[in-house]
Structure formats: C-alpha cells, structure tokens
C-alpha cells in the first residue's frame, strides 16, 4: 500500500486562488473571514492579514460591504450590488456573488464563498443619442393635443379652452384643479404642447403613487432629468403627496435657470393645501399665478354629442345620447371612456350602455342632482358668515366700520359674530 496522499489533498487550492485575477473570499460557518486572495486585496484595498478571522457584522463598517445577506446564511445563493466604501451610491459598485457551502443535511451552512467584481463608472459606454426619428414620434404625439380637446358647445368648456390658451401663451406656473378623471393632465399637455416650451419634453409624475425615492432618482439621481435642460414642463399630479423636502427640492429646480415650467394638478386649490399644511407655501405664493378649474363631466353635458362623435365613428343613436345626458358621471371622463369602450369602435347604440345608464332613460330621469339640496337656514348662515368675514377683513377688524359696510348696527353685528363663532374671541369695539 502506498502512503501517497489522495489527489484531493495534493491539490494546492490556496495557490490556485492566489494566482487568480478574480477576487475570491471565504467566510467560515462562524461568519469569520477565513480566506481572501490577493486579487480581493487589490479590488477592495483591504488587507487580508488585517481582517483574517474578523467576524463580519453589519455594524463593522470595514467589512459590511462584503457581508453575505441573510438569505445566504439561510442557504440560498445571492447576487448583490453594493456601493464601494467612500461612495454612498456608487460608482464604483461591488457586484458580489455569494455561494453558501451546505452541509450534508443541507440545513447547516458550513461557510460562504464570495466572488467580487468591481463595476466602475460607465464612462466608456458608447453614446446612444436620441435619433431624429424619435423627434417625429414626439411631434405626431404632440399634434393630438390641440385646444379643441378642451373646447365644446358648453360654456364651461369654452371657458376652460380660453384659460388654457392664456396659459399656453406665457411660461408661468399653472395650478389645475378638478375632480378625479376630469382630464387635468390632458389640459396640462394641451398647455405644454402649444406653449413656447413645446420643443422640450413634457414629464408627468404621479406623486401620489410612486415612492419618493423613485421620483427623486428619476429627477435628481445619477443621469437624472434635473441635470440637463431637456424638460420643458414638469407636471406634478397631486404634489401634496410628496414629502415636503422633496417638494422644496423640486421647486428649487423649477426656479433654476434651465428649470422646467411647473404645472400641478390636484383635486383642490393650492391655497387650501398650503393652509392645511400639506404643501410648502411657495406652491401657492410663487407657483399658482394661473389657476384653472377643470369642470366635471356633469357640468358639460352639452358637450357629450361632440365627445362621442370624436371618439366613435358614425352617428350615435339619439336615445343613447339622451341616456348619456341623463347620467351624472361620478367618474367623469374616465367613466365615459369605459362606457364608450363597450361600443368597440361601432356607432354608439343604446344597448351598448350599461344598465344603470339605460334605466335612467326608461324612467325618464333628468340629470340626477349630485349634491343634496341645502337647507334654507344653512344657506343663510353661510352667506351671513362669509359677508361678515369679508367686511371684517376689509375694515381691518374694526367692528364699527364693518357694521357700517354691512348696513347694520354694531351691536347686532357683535351678536351675530358671537352666534356664528367667527374669529374665536368676540372682537372688542374699542378700536372704533
């Protein structure tokens, strides 16, 4: 019998890895660094001799970038990208592949092998410029957004179109408010594509849904939109949903030399949102000089025949149009488009409509009032409250002057202020 070692023990695996240009390191099952080759030292700038036997932990900053993630210690392979030390976001990054060494029963992890590659800045990538064909695509797309999209026979539509024309003629910020589904972004696109900034891009961001870090990355991250003057108009849908620091940062970008024009859309006015503390004041004081209210669809029922003729070919059945006019459209345009989708590109017939709309026609419904009828006392109190508040504001809080404006005795005005609980404490008459 020969005492020669088996081929496995003869293999000089340490020198094998030492000669490799791939950075390899090994953690033992006790989570201590057991081996790292010279390529690892060159890539990381760390000394293996210094960290040999060091236990890896999240709070040990020198080794945390190469710490295996928990699923690796649970027995799964993982590939991660981490920013190299001294760089919070990279580049350079470290791409690390972790392979756990499983025991016989596949539950115990004997150790972890790591393979590290350094990913540097992508400066060597070839330039990929936007070709001229994309400009043609953008031009075709922009051509759809004319003022006719907003205009219609109804008075409110004409008002909306004329306000949009006025907004498109200048470059100041615009605040658009209206119920969900009324087409606030469409109005913003119409303004942009007919404005002096139309050569630059329209960027619409849904602030209410996306995580702030995604929006921040798109705007201010590496290669973000804020780095170049490519954005002509920034449309923020529900900016009140953003964290206030990000609100302020976006405003700072919009106010910079090459910043975009800001158009915001929400269900209410900027003033209300600022007063409720959900929006930084500059949105109202500096970025809402033009305020446009997009009317709900139930306010522009006279436009329905025109809208249907734009969206569907052929002549719609008069009964179908009558049924559409009899509905109050709580979902606005979005709901109308859903309803018209049932026609599947055919001329609209009554039987295309959902039951809830058809039934209103059968029972001869007129448009249902969306709001409850206000009570007389409520109406009178509301009017009185607003008139008194306006008179007090005009007179600078002087009760006698306000009473004169309103044409009542001072004592009566004082009683009404107390009864209506206006302004907290009852004002004194000393100022008169």
């Amino acid at each position: 019998m020969s005492d020669a070692p088996s081929p496995r023990t003869r293999f000089a695996w340490r020198s094998f890895f030492d000669r490799s240009e791939s950075a390899v390191f090994v953690f033992g099952g006790d989570r201590r660094l057991r081996y790292a080759n010279p390529a690892w030292e060159r890539a990381t700038g760390l000394s293996f001799a210094k960290f040999r036997g060091t236990k890896v932990a999240a709070n040990r900053r020198s080794l945390s970038p190469i710490a295996p993630s928990p699923e690796v210690w649970a027995g799964s392979e993982a590939r991660v990208r981490r920013a190299a030390p001294d760089s919070t976001t990279g580049p350079p990054w470290w791409d690390i592949t972790f392979v756990p060494l499983l025991g016989v029963d596949e539950r115990q992890v004997l150790g972890v092998i790591g393979l590290l590659t350094v990913v540097g800045p992508s400066r060597t990538l070839p330039r990929v410029k936007v070709p001229a064909a994309v400009a043609a695509v953008r031009a075709n797309h922009a051509a759809r957004y004319t003022f006719d999209l907003l205009a219609g026979p109804s008075q409110v539509s004409e008002r909306l179109a004329s306000q949009a024309r006025a907004a498109a003629a200048c470059e100041v910020s615009v605040w658009i408010h209206g119920e969900p589904g009324t087409g606030k972004e469409t109005a913003a696109r119409v303004i942009h594509h007919n404005s002096p900034r139309r050569e630059r891009a329209f960027v619409g961001l849904p602030c209410g849904g996306l995580q702030p870090y995604i929006l921040e990355g798109m705007l201010f991250g590496k290669g973000g939109l804020a780095g170049t003057p490519v954005v002509g108009t920034l449309y923020l849908n529900r900016p009140e949903e953003l964290p206030r620091p990000l609100q302020a940062r976006i405003l700072g970008w919009c106010e910079s030399a090459f910043g975009p024009r800001l158009i915001c859309g929400s269900t209410t006015t900027a003033e209300e949102l600022v007063n409720s503390g959900r929006l930084v004041p500059a949105f109202f004081t500096r970025h809402a000089p033009i305020e446009i209210r997009v009317p709900a669809l139930r306010e522009r029922l006279d436009d329905l025949p025109l809208i249907v003729s734009r969206l569907l070919p052929g002549a719609a059945e008069p009964e179908a149009i009558a049924a559409l006019r009899g509905y109050h459209w709580p979902g606005n345009w979005r709901e109308l488009l859903d309803v018209l989708a049932a026609a599947d590109g055919q001329p609209l017939r009554k039987d295309h409509l959902p039951r809830v709309i058809r039934e209103r026609l059968l029972v001869g419904h007129t448009p249902a009032p969306a709001k409850p009828t206000p009570k007389l006392d409520e109406v009178l109190e509301s009017v009185e409250r607003r008139m008194i508040a306006a008179a007090l504001a005009k007179s600078g809080g002087r009760l006698a002057e306000a009473a004169e404006v309103l044409g009542v005795w001072r004592a009566r005005l004082s009683r009404r202020i107390t009864a209506l609980r206006l302004g907290g404490e009852p004002p004194s008459g000393d100022e008169t």
């Binding site: 119920e179 969900p180 960027v203 995580q211 290669g223 939109l225 269900t267 709901e335 709001k371 109406v379």
Partner: protein, 152 residues
Amino acid sequence: MKHPHVVLCAFDDWLAAQLREIVAERRWVLREFRQPAAWVDAAARRQPCVAILQADFTDAAANPLGVVADLHARNADAAVVVVSDVKLNDDDRPPWAAAAADVGARVVLFPPLTRPVLEDAVSGLMGVVAGDTAPRSEPTIDLAAGAFEDRV
C-alpha cells in the same frame, strides 16, 4: 374586466420572474408578450393596468417610443413603465427618459435594475390606476362664490 393587470412586453423571462412574487401576493393578473403590437392591444383595454415595456434604445428598427406613444394615444390611463435593456451614459439617460415621458411613459428605469425598485414602481403605479377614482365630493354650499365679497 376591472381586475388589475400587469401587461409586460420583454425579450426574455427575467422581468416576469422579478414580478411573479408581487403579482401573486397582490392577486393581479400578469400577461406576458413578446410582440409590442400585441402588448399595446392588451394594455389599451379599459382596465386598471400597469404596462411594462422592455426597450432597447439602440435598436432603431424596434422604435420603442413609437410603441409607447401608440399606447398612450389609445389608453392614456395605462401607466407605462419603460425598462431600458441597455446601459446608457449618464449624459444620454435624460434625453431618452424625457422623450419616453413626453410620449406617455410614467417611469423610465435603467440598469442596474433591482427587484425592489421594480416592485415599488409597479405597485405604486397600480395604486394610482386601480385606486378609488370616484370623486370625493362633500356637500358644500357654494353660493355665488366671490360675488358678495366684491360688493362689500
């Protein structure tokens, strides 16, 4: 059908694999396509939809932005996520991202792309498109607003 859909057009299965877990967890419907035209047809249906397009910006023949513009013209309510398949220079990203947004994309993602980012983007947009779209109207009294303030 009003069930939330994730409609995906990708070159391979990698993106779908990244999304399968969240799709199952949220009970959305995931539909995969290889052909952009079929993807546009599926995403243009009136349903809550996040449409994801994997795009190779270097391939002029594929015209990914034309596809996005086509979808936006047919269904502006579909939330479109464009995932670039190629790494771009920091200088090249903004023009492409802005051009994609201009024709209707909501989010443009560039490599390196991680699963949490993709999941957050899709779930955030799904919250917007499948959220409560009914107006939050309150019974307010708006009597001649601004009329008597002018008089007093």
